[in-house]
């Protein structure tokens, strides 16, 4: 209802049930993928016992540990970020996520960013909103897939590819889901999560994707820590920059930037102990804002400076102190990142701590494997590589690879299957320009079959001609009520009607698209004409926008159950978003709630499909 903030609820039972069902079905397919891969692996190993023995000799988990022991730093990053992706994937499975992500996560994040960022982000939000079930499920499986892939693949090209997958998906999430980590918005600060948690996932993914020889010198560790040090030093300067509200704990009773943030976080739903902790910190910061910011600036600057020195002796305590700082920020300022609202990840502090530890561990070079004998799998891979990539797809090579593969490799291939499982339905859904009708059904609720005579009316159309319901007999009438100066829903509903007419094609000759003014103040034909021009309805031949005197309109509103309320203090008229389907005999046959969803244009085309279908149902052949 315009003026009453109605629309689809993120907890809409129909959508939540559909999302759960989609996830369940895909989970069964995922299990099947792993089962088939496992069976194939066991079977091939039974057929090729010699190859399997070679693999077994290499050790239970794969090739000899001494030959290809993964560098500790790489292992930490791979396992750490694998677990984070896995956790993020699980968070994506929250029932509210399918509908709520665009309106409750993506668009609020972009609200403070420049227009071009909002444009990019809104495009993604709309794309998601058109197919929320497929998009929601794809995010779940892609993130779980990347997580499992990282955890399972410890060595070789498959492991490096997992790093690349992490970079690719991370960039998608950072741009569209985190609005570039809000780096273009005012108030950028490391304390709140700049430059966006997923950008750190990308950085870690890029490190995992590096050739393994890169880990065999201390250079990589120094570079990682220098880069992190540089970033922290920059963040220290930004934190110290005057006029951004961080030096003031509170001013004239208004909390400063940091206290304001933590105060807001404390108000989100979460365990009492955590909100009490946040409230205590807010109070402390309000009282000692200058000291808190001084500490933050000093901590960032000193840590950044030490990381830049590259001196292992200094870096060890600095990494420990930095980790403590990250954990304190994570609890006291970021509120664990995923509690309250619709959390999608645990925010930036755990990734930062992992990265710093990874950089520190990388200062100790991993032993070189240049002189070690190659494992059976590697030998096969090297031979195939020497013969060209086509050789990798020959049945003999595949059988050999399967027989010599270890359990982790099979799990990694299964993880790739999970990613495809998520991405494929979304890609297919993208081909359909119309939104998923389940959105409209969720808003409209169950539409009972109606059959009673529609109340007549005699009103004036946008051209000044009198139109009665009786004069429309013989046509299917799609009837709605629109406020010509409405700023939110009505223009969208008008576009739904216009799109419904286009979907009907030649059949639209038998359909009349009718709107009646729902505003007791602005109800002149000048108002309806301006609305038609704005919505490009002047060229729609079967569009009628009817109005009349206030008593005439009130009579029609009453008979069709519309309440057009004058709300005070600069609010628009509150009225119901509803559409009636009236058949060719003048009988009401259906009633649809046309309220568009919050913050999305998705339901526009979704309702167009529903409206067109409803009209077709009652069109008799001429």
């Amino acid at each position: 209802m315009p003026g009453m903030n109605s629309g689809i609820n993120v907890n809409a039972p129909a959508v939540v049930a559909a999302f759960k069902s989609a996830l369940l079905h895909q989970a069964i397919i995922a299990l099947l993928i792993f089962a088939v891969l496992g069976l194939a692996w066991i079977t091939v190993r039974a057929w090729l016992p010699a190859a399997a023995r070679t693999a077994e000799q290499a050790g239970p988990g794969g090739p000899p540990a001494a030959a290809v022991a993964e560098p500790a730093a790489r292992q930490l990053l791979r396992v750490g970020f694998g677990l984070l992706w896995l956790f993020d994937g699980i968070l994506q499975a929250q029932p509210k996520m399918a509908i709520g992500l665009p309106s409750q996560v993506i668009e609020p994040l972009a609200a403070a960013s420049p227009k071009w960022v909002q444009h990019v982000v809104n495009w993604a939000g709309t794309t998601w909103s058109y197919h929320p079930m497929q998009a929601g499920a794809s995010a779940v499986w892609i993130q779980i897939g990347i997580g499992v892939w990282l955890l399972a693949a410890a060595h070789g090209p498959l492991s490096r590819l997992a790093g690349l997958a992490s970079v690719a998906w991370g960039l998608v999430v950072w741009v569209f889901g985190e609005a570039f980590g809000s780096i273009f918005a005012p108030g950028l600060t490391w304390l709140f999560g700049a430059p966006g948690a997923v950008l750190i996932y990308c950085f870690a993914g890029a490190l995992i994707a590096l050739p393994e020889r890169a880990w065999h010198t201390a250079r990589l560790g120094r570079l990682v820590l220098a880069g992190l040090g540089l970033f922290l030093a920059g963040m220290a300067v930004l934190q110290a920059w005057p006029g951004r509200g961080f030096w003031q704990g509170a001013s004239r009773g208004t909390p400063g930037t940091l206290a304001g943030m933590t105060q807001t976080m404390a108000q989100t739903p979460q365990p009492h102990a955590l909100s009490a902790l946040l409230n205590a910190f807010t109070g402390f910061d309000e009282a000692h804002g200058f000291a808190v910011n001084l500490f933050a600036v000093a901590a960032l600057a000193v840590t950044g400076g030490i990381f830049l020195t590259g001196r292992r002796r200094l870096i060890r305590p600095a990494v420990i102190a930095f980790t403590v700082l990250c954990l304190a920020d994570w609890v006291l300022i970021e509120d664990l990142g995923f509690l309250g609202g619709l959390g999608t990840d645990p925010n930036s502090m755990l990734p930062f701590a992992l990265l710093a530890f990874g950089g520190y561990l990388a200062l100790t070079p991993a032993p070189s494997v240049a002189d070690e004998p190659a494992s059976a799998t590697e030998s096969a891979s090297l031979e195939a590589a020497a013969r060209g990539w086509q050789a990798r797809f020959r049945p003999g090579y595949l059988r050999q690879s399967m027989a010599t593969a270890n359990f982790r490799s099979v799990a990694a291939v299964g993880a790739v299957g999970l990613i495809i499982l998520g991405a494929a339905p979304m890609a297919a859904a993208q081909a359909n320009p119309n939104a998923d009708p389940i959105l409209a059904q969720a808003i409209a609720g169950s539409t009972a079959q109606l059959n009673f005579p529609a109340k007549g009316f005699a009103l004036t159309d946008q051209h000044g001609r009198t139109v009665t319901l009786a004069s429309l007999r013989g046509k299917v009438v799609l009837l709605t009520f629109l406020d010509p100066v409405c700023t939110s829903d009505c223009p969208l509903i008008a576009q739904e009607f216009r799109a419904a007419g286009q979907l009907l094609g030649a059949a639209s000759r038998g359909v009349e698209l009718v709107a009646i003014v729902a505003n007791p103040v602005y109800h002149q034909t000048a108002d309806t004409q301006a609305f038609d021009r704005q919505e490009h309805l002047t060229q729609v031949p079967n569009w009628l926008y009817l109005t009349g005197t206030v008593p005439q309109l009130q009579q029609v509103w009453k008979e069709y159950g519309i309440a057009a309320l004058i709300l005070p203090a600069g609010s628009m008229i509150g009225h119901g978003d509803v559409a009636y389907v009236i058949d060719q005999n003048g009988h009401v046959r259906g009633e649809l709630n046309t309220a568009p969803g919050p913050g999305t244009t998705a339901t526009k085309s979704s309702f167009a499909v529903l409206l067109a279908d409803a009209a077709r149902q009652y069109l008799r052949p001429a």
Partner: protein, 382 residues
């Protein structure tokens, strides 16, 4: 880490920090950008009362901000909420008066609306007559003007076009565009950069005003004999050079009152100017702003002018008087209301509360005179 790597790192850090923070640093000597236009919060005085526009509610990003119109009938001390009904005011509200007790309010469109509903009252906001401008009003407090006597309206649009209505505001026609005015002889003399004010002269001549990039030229244009001519006040020698922006221009009776800002950054000064019957302009002494930006502008009876800056306000009571700094403003002050006998009210709004503070001339502080609950309908524009 080698010395060379460290040096490169430090230089890169310095470059990154400079790049990251440089955007906020003023660029001396660069092409000067004039003072930004003031907010829509403003006030005006008619014979029947004082009118004020202020923003209430919450975040504009979530369409929870609601612009309100308040009126204080002449002879009374209490403000009333008189926002015209039937349309959302999230995009902003501008007001104009053709004199007597008539006030026209224009709603700036927001979200999916692309045109500007109008409403006119003849009885201090007790009842409103709706009408429509099929275009988007500009985001400046003087986007709408009403001619004394004729009932014609002049609207400055968001795209820089000015449209003139027939008497009664039923039909609108384009009068000028920013581009056509800039290309005119007067526009070239001024180096016109933008338009920010629509007004009528006491004799009903359409006036447009904006920002001039050329030295000591006030961008006030009058349409006489079908030709746009410069009609602004001269700049005193003490004023800085370019650019200059007209912040306000109103007509009451036979008197035109203008407020101009000249210069940039810390060199910005304010200048009030008055003209009686289209004759010579009399100017105030310049008021240096010391780097503060003008948040809102109010013009009162007798040529009184007030400007709200960052927490402070300067007022001048009319021709021949001097600028005066008021005591620090109460928190949340959006605009001033200038009443007769040099009385000044500071009008503050936060959330659903509107507060009026009075400053008796010569006193050291503000006295709260009224707190008004505004029935803001949060979420109604979602």
């Amino acid at each position: 880490m080698s010395r060379r790597t460290r040096l490169v790192s430090v230089l890169a850090a310095a470059a990154a920090v400079t790049a990251g923070c440089g955007t906020a640093t003023p660029q001396p000597g660069a092409a000067a950008s004039p003072a930004p236009p003031p907010s829509l919060a403003t006030s005006l005085v008619t014979p029947t009362g004082t009118w004020a526009v202020a923003e209430t509610g919450g975040s504009a990003a979530s369409h929870n901000n609601f612009w309100q119109l308040f009126a204080r009938p002449a002879g009374t001390t209490k403000w009333r909420l008189v926002t015209p009904p039937g349309v959302a005011s999230n995009g902003g509200l501008v007001i104009a008066t053709p004199g007597a007790g008539t006030v026209v309010a224009g709603f700036r469109p927001s979200q999916n609306l692309a045109y500007s509903p109008l409403a006119t009252t003849y009885n201090n906001g007790a009842a409103w007559s709706p009408s429509l401008l099929d275009a988007r009003l500009a985001n400046v407090p003087a986007a709408l003007a009403a001619a004394q006597g004729s009932g014609r309206l002049l609207a400055l649009l968001a795209n820089g076009t000015a449209e003139l209505s027939s008497p009664g505001g039923t039909h609108w026609a384009p009068l000028a565009t920013m581009r056509s005015l800039a290309r005119s002889a007067a526009g070239r003399r001024c180096g016109l950069k933008s338009l920010s004010v629509a007004a009528f002269s006491p004799s009903g001549v359409p006036l447009l005003a904006g920002t001039c990039s050329h030295r000591r030229t006030a961008g006030v244009f009058a349409l006489t004999g079908g030709v746009w001519r410069l009609a602004g006040p001269p700049f005193p020698a003490a004023m800085p050079g370019q650019p200059s922006r007209v912040l306000g221009l109103t007509v009451a009776g036979n008197r035109e009152t203008a407020l101009l800002a000249a210069g940039t950054g810390r060199d910005t000064t304010l200048l009030a100017a008055w003209s009686a019957g289209g004759g010579r302009w009399a100017s105030s002494s310049p008021l240096p702003l010391g780097g503060s930006e003008v948040a809102s502008v109010s013009i009162g009876p007798g040529g009184a002018v007030g400007a709200v800056l960052n927490g402070r306000a300067g007022v001048i009571s009319g021709p021949g008087s001097a600028w005066q700094w008021l005591p620090f403003l109460p928190a949340g002050t959006q605009t001033l209301a200038l009443g007769p006998r040099a009385q000044v009210d500071a009008l503050a709004a936060a959330g659903a509360t509107f507060t009026a503070w009075a400053w008796p001339p010569g006193s050291a502080g503000w006295a709260k005179t009224q707190t008004l609950h505004v029935p803001v309908q949060y979420g109604s524009s979602g």
